[in-house]
């Protein structure tokens, strides 16, 4: 019984931590701030790709 309660407690803590983490990302728009920082690197990468440009 004690083990079962312990497992439940661990699961509850993990869920609460995950919620706190994802909700912080959500409310402070951290996901978009991160992807906005990635975009310039990607654009530089695209400029380096060889392309068969023609009409």
């Amino acid at each position: 019984m004690m083990t079962f309660l312990h497992i439940l407690k661990v699961i509850a803590i993990v869920i609460a931590a995950l919620f706190a983490l994802t909700f912080t990302v959500y409310i402070f728009n951290l996901d978009m701030k991160l992807t906005a920082a990635i975009e310039p690197w990607l654009l530089k990468h695209y400029d380096k790709i060889d392309r068969d440009q023609h009409l």
């Binding site: 959500y26 990607l42 440009q53 009409l55």
Partner: protein, 521 residues
């Protein structure tokens, strides 16, 4: 930070020079938790997408894929200030569209010769234009109807206002005219820039609406047919679509397109599948008519971008072929009925009832939400949502099979935009004033897409009629896919100056009047 509609100063979320907003809205506990749960769902959709190595490979190959970094922000733009049923309606639609586009991208990369190179799958693919009615695919349930232009240009601009600029510049560097519509020009630019996935057994192109579209199709089909070896059929639907004498020709074009697909894929037309799709199209029409009926009352429910974006997707790109959209139609209608019964409003004050006409700016699709939140203008309906309401035949009989060909022809002729920009004076001009009366509107917001010659020629006629009828007509000039010509603030300024000088009004939310979103996605 409040539960009440209109309690936030929405302009305070913007940050000068930033691509993204400072934070997301607190909408009260229930609505914030709902929005958060939908955000999680979107993150899971995106997570599932990037789990596949071929999709990551495509991310590093195609420039337009970088725009998909902004998916959650697109949803945030359209849910600005929304609460309760309006927020839920918006998510029902946007999340489904995101899921559908993720599947489209996954399929494109699976068959793409450069990425997944699944030849067997590619042989079941029929490519279609972005701006094309997919009615001819309703009877081919085992084939994949995919559009390369939808994710590369159309959706990209909804995600990032500058998404098409690179491709517009490429097209012009290669000598294409700069004064055509930037949408087909950008699509041609993707092809010239060697940035379109290569796949498919064959392709169906449509003579959409304009000189730019024909130009773009020419450039794209040249590469498809002569270099990639993918045969292309030109579905030339008549432009005078209200005339009886063109219908036989239109029906023959549908028969020819079906025969072309059968020939190149080896798959036969399936009437059972067609009539199943036709039932779904009819159901979508019934729902849309009910929403529009509500919008005629003082308590409109499904309007603005909730109506416009969803109708474009469901009517044209889906055309009854995806069962999930029928489920969404049902849910949206239920939510709208609930809100209508409670006489709910999406903003704290409705000052004006507007019909939005003309071709809307894609780099500022959330302008409709801005109209509501900033000035209390309710965009009751828009030109692109006023599409065919004709019921399709749904019973499989020999007579109905013949009628079904005419129904598909009718839908193709009446695809979004072309049903208004072509077809004569009545469909573009006369019916606008009929809708103004029908919806009891006191304003017309008239998008002037400066590269659209079909509409620009009518400028004086619109003004003359508005004066005669005593309707407040506001011109809003834009360049569809290119915010470098007229910025989002340039679009807003045209409304701001009209509201201040003609109506002598102050904004409901003054923080929205001037926004630092020039660098924003």
């Amino acid at each position: 930070m409040a539960k009440q509609v209109g309690a936030d100063r929405l302009g305070d979320f913007y940050k000068e020079g930033s691509k993204v907003r400072k934070r997301r809205e607190w909408r009260g506990l229930a609505d914030t938790m709902y929005d958060y749960s939908r955000w999680l769902k979107i993150m899971m959709t995106l997570g599932k997408f990037v789990m596949k190595p071929r999709n990551v490979k495509a991310m590093f190959r195609y420039r337009w894929m970088a725009n998909y970094l902004a998916v959650p922000m697109m949803v945030d733009r359209h849910t600005q200030g929304l609460r309760g049923e309006y927020l839920r309606i918006c998510h029902e639609e946007q999340d489904l569209v995101i899921d559908d586009v993720a599947k489209l991208l996954d399929s494109l990369f699976r068959g793409d010769r450069r990425i997944g190179n699944d030849k067997k799958f590619s042989d079941k693919v029929v490519l279609v234009d972005e701006n094309e009615m997919t009615a001819v695919m309703m009877g081919f349930p085992t084939l994949k109807c995919l559009s390369r232009e939808t994710p590369s240009t159309y959706v990209s601009v909804l995600l990032n206002q500058y998404a098409a600029c690179h491709y517009i510049d490429v097209a012009q560097e290669f000598g294409l005219a700069g004064d055509v519509c930037p949408m087909p020009e950008a699509e041609a630019g993707v092809s010239i820039d060697d940035d379109a996935p290569v796949l498919g057994a064959c392709a169906i192109q449509c003579n959409t609406t304009c000189d730019g579209s024909l130009l773009g199709n020419g450039v794209i089909s040249q590469r498809l047919e002569h270099e990639d070896g993918i045969p292309v059929f030109q579905l030339a639907a008549p432009l005078r679509h209200r005339e009886d004498d063109v219908q036989e020709y239109a029906a023959q074009e549908i028969r020819n397109a079906i025969a072309f697909i059968e020939k190149h894929t080896g798959v036969k037309w399936d009437w059972d599948a067609y009539f199943e799709c036709a039932k779904r199209v009819n159901y979508a029409t019934e729902c849309r008519q009910e929403w529009l009926e509500m919008n005629r009352t003082p308590y409109p429910q499904v309007f603005g971008s909730n109506l416009a974006l969803y109708t474009e997707t469901n009517y044209m790109a889906i055309c009854g072929r995806v069962a999930a959209f029928e489920k969404a139609d049902r849910k949206i209608t239920k939510l709208a009925r609930q809100a209508y019964a409670k006489k709910k409003m999406a903003a704290k004050e409705y000052r004006h009832r507007a019909i939005v006409w003309g071709v809307q700016s894609h780099y500022y699709m959330d302008f409709l939400v801005w109209l509501l939140n900033c000035w209390g203008i309710v965009p009751l309906t828009d030109m692109l949502s006023m599409v065919s309401t004709k019921k399709l035949v749904t019973e499989d009989t020999p007579e109905n099979r013949e009628q079904a060909i005419y129904d598909m022809a009718w839908l193709t002729e009446n695809m979004i935009m072309r049903n208004r920009t072509h077809g004569g004076y009545k469909v573009l001009l006369d019916e606008l004033w009929e809708f103004v009366e029908m919806f009891n509107a006191d304003m017309v917001i008239l998008w002037e897409h400066m590269s659209c010659k079909a509409l620009d020629g009518m400028h004086g006629l619109f003004e003359e009629k508005a004066r005669e009828k005593g309707i407040n007509l506001v011109w809003v000039t834009h360049d569809l896919f290119d915010p470098r010509i007229i910025s989002r603030q340039g679009v807003r300024d045209q409304i701001n100056s009209y509201m201040r000088t003609v109506f002598n009004e102050e904004p409901i939310d003054p923080s929205l009047e001037v926004l630092p979103d020039d660098k924003s996605w």
